[in-house]
């Protein structure tokens, strides 16, 4: 983008993808690369932590540090990596099943602790990698092989995040790469936990929430409304909007102390990862037991 940029898209080139042609995940991958390049971050400065699922494969397709953990378990690993090395830009990534199903508890608690990490959820409203079961965000009544009478009332990630006092709550759409990339940039720059739930069509298993379905409905909050992301109550009301119109953009944003700065028993002035042991301290501790 910038003529003098050191960091180009090329340095982020990763391995061959295993996604279906036409999958919304490609848009997310592009948006992420663009955001990192725009921010002029170098690959070694970034750590991606991912779960298991189609979304969880993303870090394999971009050249950064990466820790591809278990289904649903991205957030605790990502948070801890940030705690011990706050110089890293830590980005967690996973699917809707991964993050809101298996990983629901970590989601709640990472938000309230306000770790300074960015969390991308590829929300295709379906379990992709396991071939099409309902996910926690599947629309009510959605029929799959495990929900033959329809899926139950979905999780509303935006509402949950606002109720959990998350400090950055946004929704993106993989079909609007420009906008999404801006959200990811803003999320990375935000000091605190940034949730970006990304509407991502699964062309193979979700025949309801297709590219066209989303495209008809999504609108940009910053352009087509006078939404104030600082107000928690109106943000909550906005979060309930889902149907004919679906807002994308930042629903809620606030400044509040991040875990690493305020609640750790140590002050993270220097990354822990660089420190060498201090036997002197232990010696005096031993004396306390005498």
């Amino acid at each position: 983008m910038v003529a003098t940029a050191k960091v180009t898209q090329k340095v982020y080139a990763g391995g061959p993808t295993a996604w279906c042609p036409g999958c919304g995940n490609f848009g997310i991958l592009s948006a992420l690369k663009k955001a990192l390049v725009d921010l002029q971050l170098e690959p070694h400065q970034v750590l991606m932590v991912s779960g298991i699922g189609q979304a969880g494969k993303l870090p394999h397709y971009i050249r950064t540090n990466g820790l591809n953990v278990l289904h649903g378990r991205t957030l605790p690993a990502a948070a801890a990596a940030k705690i011990v090395n706050h110089d890293l830009v830590v980005i967690a990534v996973g699917g809707d099943g991964d993050g809101y199903g298996e990983g629901g508890n970590h989601f709640l608690h990472a938000m309230r602790r306000n770790h300074d990490i960015t969390y991308l959820v590829h929300d295709n409203q379906i379990y992709g990698l396991t071939k099409g079961q309902a996910s926690p965000t599947s629309d009510e009544g959605f029929i799959t092989k495990t929900t033959i009478k329809g899926a139950v009332d979905p999780i509303n990630p935006m509402a949950l995040a606002i109720a959990s006092n998350a400090s950055f709550v946004a929704r993106g759409f993989s079909g609007d790469m420009e906008h999404l990339s801006g959200l990811i940039k803003a999320g990375i720059q935000h000091k605190g936990f940034a949730l970006i739930d990304i509407l991502q069509p699964c062309v193979t298993f979700n025949r309801k929430n297709t590219h066209a379905w989303y495209r008809e409905r999504v609108y940009r909050l910053d352009q087509e409304s006078d939404h104030d992301p600082a107000d928690r109550t109106t943000a909550f009301t906005k979060s309930l909007e889902w149907g004919d119109r679906i807002p994308i953009g930042v629903l809620y944003r606030q400044e509040r102390p991040v875990f690493e700065d305020r609640f750790l028993p140590i002050t993270v002035d220097q990354p822990l990862v660089g420190l060498s042991p201090e036997p002197g301290g232990v010696e005096s501790l031993l004396d306390e037991f005498v």
Partner: protein, 573 residues
Amino acid sequence: MALDINLMVGGEAGQGVQSIGFILAKLAARNGYEVFADQDYESRIRGGHNFFRVRICASDVGTLTEKVDLLIALNKDSVLLHSQEMRADGMMIYDNDAVKDLASEGNLLGIPLQTLAKEKAGNKIMSNTVALGAVAYLIALDLDRLKELLLERFGPGETGEKNTIAAQAGFDHAREHFEMTARRVPAGSNGRKMLLNGNEAIVLGALAAGCRFMAGYPMTPVTPILEGMTENATRMKVATLQAEDEIAAMLMAIGASFAGVRAMTATSGGGFNLMVEGLGLAGMTETPLVIVEGQRPGPATGLPTRTEQGDLLFLLHAAHGEFPRVLFAPSTVEENFWLTVKAFNLAEKYQIPVFILTDHHMATSYWTAPKFDLSQVVIDHGRIYSPGVPVDGDYRRHLLSEDGISPRAFPGTKGIVVFTAGDEHDEHGHIIEDAGMRAAMVEKRLRKTDLVRQEIAAPKTYGPEKADITLLGWGSTFGAIREAVDRLCHEGMNVNCCHFAEIWPFPVGAVEEVLAKGNRKYMVENNATGQMAQLLRAQTCIRVDGCILKYDGRPISPRFIVDQLKKEVGAVW
């Protein structure tokens, strides 16, 4: 027989049983004696019945014994429940303000604890300290040292001062009314040994090893490890965190370790269940990790405040799939410290998870120990990547090296990226489907098992080198078994013992050597199925002649072993 005095404090939860007991233990330690102390308590915060036992010896001690020399009964129940456990010449102190229907006569020493506390120190609440003073007189512990301890504990201000007054009152009352017990503690040296429990020794070991991250979730008996690390976090620069659950705690430890620091977690069996998935992830991603598991009686919630050795085989086989691990079960308070240090080293050297398997008894018992010699602490981070080797830009986290160990590097290193995955992966850490690479990675990981086995110490032996009977055991039972060996030898039997603290990878060769002699073997375990006996058989085909098992949630005592062994060999003897 050498000095061996056994005190017991009994009362209900909330009455300060633990507090009195601990001060007595500390007082004896300050007097230069060896001390072993442990608490028996229920899973409740107030009420019920608790007791704390303190054993004071002239030489090394690692277990409680059965008979009580001096009982401090803080309530009626304690009088009723523990009178049978008294030695014939034992004494009992009780509060005759509270227990009215008991005559203070003979060895029953009623003291108006509350009245004295009120009168002398101005507060009924200090009746426990009055009792402490009386005890100090009865077994001849140094009153000044007691006062010193009270001031350390309650501060030099008014509270501390009043407590010393209360202690003096108890001391004086006892001197006026009673005779010292036969088993008094002769004025000891000022050895100034440490007095600490297994949990504390692990905290110290972790700090000495340079642990920089701990996440955990409260669970008896190891909650104090998280609390202890947190207490020292600021000055020792350790990030600690109470997670939302054990799953998170485990994954956090993995994330921190991958990012480049020494990391640990601690839990009990119930919580460890939830860490099993993360354990496999550590195995697959070759992430160093130290996991403390403090056993308590299972299955499920079981008896939360009791002890058992029921999780050995579970930990050795936990998580689906196959990968190397190390398991230590410390058998003394020193081993809690040193094996923790070793655990961190092996975890990093071999890039594997290492267990410290302790139990309620080991975690909460107080022992005396000489101050750990920190100059002996060696830190070994294992193989770390140096830029350029292999060439920049081609760093391979899972390099297929000859010994299975690949150099580690950490995210943030300029010029390279570090990648790993819980999926099977290639050398760069990226997902594969290929059969050949899969097999190569399996072999690479498993190669480390035999390598790390060479670091495992042989089991400890104790007693005569040649014996008719060998008692075997592992972990927290060492103190009891050792003492049983002494007693049995004393009684004329020819018995020794072989005891495991470094259990996995099983030191097959060393064990076969130690157990080669044709003597009879009895396995002593605090469980119902003889798990170590099974492991021994699986690893060496050595069958023991019998098992001495206890599974009622209480620790094993020397007497129990002696009695059971005699039953086992009955016909022979």
